[in-house]
Symmetry: C2
Subunit: 602 residues, 2 copies
Amino acid sequence: MTAKDMEELTMKEEKINLEAMRHSTAHVMAAAVGKIFKSVKYGVGPTIENGFYYDFDLPNQISLEDLPKIEKVMKEIIQKDFPLNCFRLPVEDALKLMKEKEQPYKVELIEDLARQGEKEVSFYQVEDFVDLCKGPHVERAGQIGPFKLLSVAGAYWKGSEKNPMLQRIYGTAWKNEKELQDYLNYLEEAKERDHRKIGKELGLFVFSDLVGKGLPLFTAKGAAIRRELERFVVEEETKRSYQHVITPPLAKVELYKISGHYPYYKDTMYPPMKVDEEELILRPMTCPHHFMLYKSQPRSYKELPLKYAELAHQFRYEKSGELTGLMRVRLFCLADAHIFATQEQVKEVIKDVLDLIDYVSSVLGLKKGEDYRYRLSLGDRQDTQKYYKNDKAWDKAENTLREVLKEVKAPFFEASGEAAFYGPKIDIQMKNVLGKEETAFTVQYDFVQPERFDLTYVDPEGKEKRPVVIHRSSIGAIERVMAFLIEKYKGAFPLWLSPIQVALIPITDKQLPYAQNVKGQLSDHFWQRGYNLRQITFGQNETMQEKIRQAQLQKIPYMLILGGREEEAGTVSVRTRKGENLGAMKIDEFAARLSKEIEEKK
Amino acid sequence: MTAKDMEELTMKEEKINLEAMRHSTAHVMAAAVGKIFKSVKYGVGPTIENGFYYDFDLPNQISLEDLPKIEKVMKEIIQKDFPLNCFRLPVEDALKLMKEKEQPYKVELIEDLARQGEKEVSFYQVEDFVDLCKGPHVERAGQIGPFKLLSVAGAYWKGSEKNPMLQRIYGTAWKNEKELQDYLNYLEEAKERDHRKIGKELGLFVFSDLVGKGLPLFTAKGAAIRRELERFVVEEETKRSYQHVITPPLAKVELYKISGHYPYYKDTMYPPMKVDEEELILRPMTCPHHFMLYKSQPRSYKELPLKYAELAHQFRYEKSGELTGLMRVRLFCLADAHIFATQEQVKEVIKDVLDLIDYVSSVLGLKKGEDYRYRLSLGDRQDTQKYYKNDKAWDKAENTLREVLKEVKAPFFEASGEAAFYGPKIDIQMKNVLGKEETAFTVQYDFVQPERFDLTYVDPEGKEKRPVVIHRSSIGAIERVMAFLIEKYKGAFPLWLSPIQVALIPITDKQLPYAQNVKGQLSDHFWQRGYNLRQITFGQNETMQEKIRQAQLQKIPYMLILGGREEEAGTVSVRTRKGENLGAMKIDEFAARLSKEIEEKK
């Protein structure tokens, strides 16, 4: 066993201990709730990431104010250091016990277990509280570390809307005070950075009940960020020989039947619309549209690799419970692309894609290996329901992707059963600003759809051949990137993305004309370069301090303080949102500084 | 009677005479068809703009090859100068006559007339051909001017798909040979300029049966034009203090019920989609979305006029027979805006809008008064079904628009019953390149929807007031503008809109590396200025003449001929698509020329 193996084993053990401790905390919480609310019926109480919850059926509503009371009783139980004892009962006795204790949900669970063939079930007891449970647990309540109850929410029994709604209390528990405090700080930070909160404060987007759920409306400020991102992607991709096309965000249902999306994604698609003799549907994916462009004329090997990119509007029916600000929406704009290549070109094509992703990510301030890594998502040869059956093609595709990742020395790991139905993929696993890893977007190897759509090209010998299609995104969904960037920068965007870039702050109303003059000069300077500088003048009726405070609240990168002295000298006194005082500058000098910073996207 | 009145009267008379003559030509054509195809059943044969048609029910298919044969027989009838005699018959006798002649469609028409209360109907006879007809006609066939049969198409009897399909022959007739020839040239020119034809030749867009009717897919080349237009609009409007927002192209049906669109536009909207508890529908208009943004926070008079603009995707269900290339589509992107203003601001706001329209039009090469004029479209106080009832508000709004048009000395005329349901409007009546006038887009005065959505602002005294909303477009639907520009320029776009701007033409393959070098230098030059220059290299295996020919076919503005001499001198020999030879230039010099021309949008 190497030192590294030892270390890994220790970490694993520690994780198991932490899980057991959190699970015991959930039991202690259940015991405490039982002491306070006599009539409680217990649901389930598992551990989750960083903590635990327990579901209760209670006649009265638990509020946040009740949590300290529950915590107090929990602490008493822990202080008395009751043991957590395990005992086993035959199913009949177990049922009898739970019926006696008037716990219908537990009875239902035991019946479920019996139906699955269990003869005996295990219980854990702490003080008077007996719970159906597999364990493991810590031995004594005194071993429970510092904990905190966090929130209350409604949750359907067994997750089904047909069942009663229970009350779920969430909590967290840690090895020591420091870890607990770190985690609570983390939660506080997450709340602070929440893009929904910042988006509202900065007025970037709104939702409307009359428009519908998951359908954000971007204000001019939000749209400014969005447009900068979109143009950045279009220009960078065009420079890299992508053909940026525009196709309609809907098509006949038939198109998605041919592509194979319809059976797989039907549940997350909007319902079809009957128009004349046609049945149209909002698109969940862009690939079939690009295939139609590809097929609109005969193709030669000379055109390959042919790269269609699009800022593609896509509609997905996400469950209303899963909609989250800009993170999860029902309509999004994906920086999408489909590359048609020969077998021989595939590796080079994927390397180019990874290079683009690295470049785009670096511009957004993300480091490979640190902020994101790759996941090689493989198929499952056994699962012919989920995956297209062609072992040889799968092997080849998976090996190609693996080789590319090795050749470019990319940090990656492998995961089985995570592929698309039409082939394996490389997932870009992005850590959010709080360290949580999620799939941001993907590079997919598709050997199925070229077949279904009978895509061909003519090779140098004049023979018809089948291209491979690589599906990829360079930046993911624009809405999601926005959510990510809002949280990353806490709303203090780099200059090029700032919805308002310059605040003009006349010290008194006397300098209002000068402020207009400066604004005009700056506008002209940038307009001549084809750019609209985003400026705001903080006018009348407020003190300079108040104007500065408002500009800071709006996270405007530069503030120009304009007093009598500046007017006389034809200068501007520059302050940054961080509070730096850059002193007086000529307007040209300031404009040059802005230009450079905008261009560098820093 | 003034000279002008006299002139107008003469023109009117001439028009009547021309109509009568064309109508007679249709009868003569029907007579000729009857001579050639004995078993013909006659439908109807009216005049249309610039000509006439007649519908025939025939067992065999008429082809273009048949038209000269028919023309020949027509000329014989005209040469023999048969009179066109009118006679009247009681309905019963008329029915008897048409039954004898085995003309079931005519029988049906007479029955329709009888049902409408007619006791007597009139017929016209030329040679043996007797036709149910109101006239008027010329007196003798010899008075028919030079004519030509143009095309054959299918047409349902009475326009209904439930009825038999007839064959329709179109023709045209004129006073003299010159006018006929002018018209035929015009048709030829229209065919040449047809944006569908040029769009195909230049590969700008395609349609796909699997995607659906009226839903164009833009290739990279078409998308390049579209993007240039869209950015131009966004930047120009942003500069003029419009807030460019982005809102979703669908919403709950309820939103359009409140706005009042749903009852009025229901038939041209896509069907609703049920998603969870929500009923969503693709939007036919953007206004209610912008109202939701307006209502997302309280508004003060200080914010007015508040101008929301958007490149708004809108869906309209156009009948499949009315779909025409990019001109009439089922999804389009409207350069839309809604301006919220106080009553006092309205005139100034509309003047600004007209100024913007003039500017944008001038950039697109259109002259006010020549290429377009204004139509003041008024309501109808009697038609309370179509128009919101509020005589005072209508008077006020109409007067405001009239005053503005007079104050800015705009060329305009008035038209009753052409307003929107919520108020009067100024229509920008654009002449297409062939002189036909159509409404390109509008400026609308809306006093109804602010009421329906309870839009308010707080005035300086702290009182709630109702704003007026001005709906306007600056450039119309991007797809339509594209169609218009393709026809205007016959595909030879100004440099800034050209899908490919520069063609690199190495004289032999030896100069291929130099071509790549030049391309790279030009790309870098523009990339540093945030612009992707659109270039193409005409490579291998073809003669220089062939490469030049291809570049000209693609209407590429500049061709760089690259031979040994150019390579040695580090220059490029510049030719234009018009065939001008601009001689050798240093690369920087050429780049500067391009920059200037792109910037000037000429």
